[in-house]
Amino acid sequence: MIARAIEKRGIATVTVSMVRELAEQVKPPRTVVTKFPFGAPLGDPLNRGLQEKVITAALDLLQTAEKPGSIVDLPYNWKEKIIG
């Protein structure tokens, strides 16, 4: 809802969500979905590699999404070790 208000004002937004169905109902302009617990939408503590993967995916969608309401599921797992 916050993203929609900001986008209406002409500023591009990307939203991370942990509940795909809520994103489907609320319809932010661009959404990436993670499978992580409430309280840690971007990944487990100190797992910088994973957090950056999530943020990078979100920033990619910000730049490349063609369709308003795009929702992308991210495949990453909690505590996943990201190499490189």
């Binding site: 809802m1 900001i6 302009p29 309280g39 308003p68």
Partner: protein, 162 residues
């Protein structure tokens, strides 16, 4: 609707807001602003719903059953030690260990240094994500933040839930 959302709705109705219903928006009506600069030229702001506020600021009303639709400014330099949390609907243990899991200012500060983004906005924002009665959020406080972001020349916003 999934079991999870049905159960959550029942819980909210029973405990806090008897006539709670989810917001469902129209697919034909999704706001859309294309990013018309390269990311490394963009001023980017970060928004969290984690109920963060600077210690000198007034806390969110975390006990209110109808929620609290207000927002707080979070400076780009903020660390976990600079902030307090007023939000009773998520476990704070993860952000207490690493603020980046929900309010990734440190990561975005690094992105600025590395030239991945043009810059991180001086002022970022936190809301308190328990807002079952969403009218004031939709009509007043979120548009206010949008106006402030526009006035600050922000090109793009990254939003994370809790």
């Amino acid at each position: 609707m999934s079991d999870f959302l049905l159960k959550m709705r029942e819980f909210i109705r029973e405990k806090w807001v008897p006539n709670f219903e989810y917001v469902v928006n129209d697919a034909a009506d999704i706001p859309w602003a294309k990013l018309n600069k390269r990311l490394n030229q963009c001023k980017v702001a970060v928004i969290s719903t984690g109920g963060f506020y600077q210690k000198a600021d007034h806390p969110f009303d975390a006990e209110n059953p109808a929620g609290d639709p207000s927002y707080r400014s979070i400076p780009k330099t903020a660390t976990r030690a600079d902030l307090a949390i007023a939000h009773t609907h998520y476990d704070h243990k993860y952000v207490n260990e690493d603020l980046n899991v929900a309010l990734p200012l440190e990561i975005f500060r690094q992105y600025e240094r590395r030239g991945i983004i043009g810059e991180l906005a001086e002022t970022n924002y936190s809301f308190m994500g328990y807002i079952p009665v969403a009218g004031e959020l939709i009509n007043t406080t979120a548009p206010e933040v949008a106006e402030r972001l526009a006035a600050a020349g922000v090109d793009a916003v990254f939003l994370a839930p809790t």
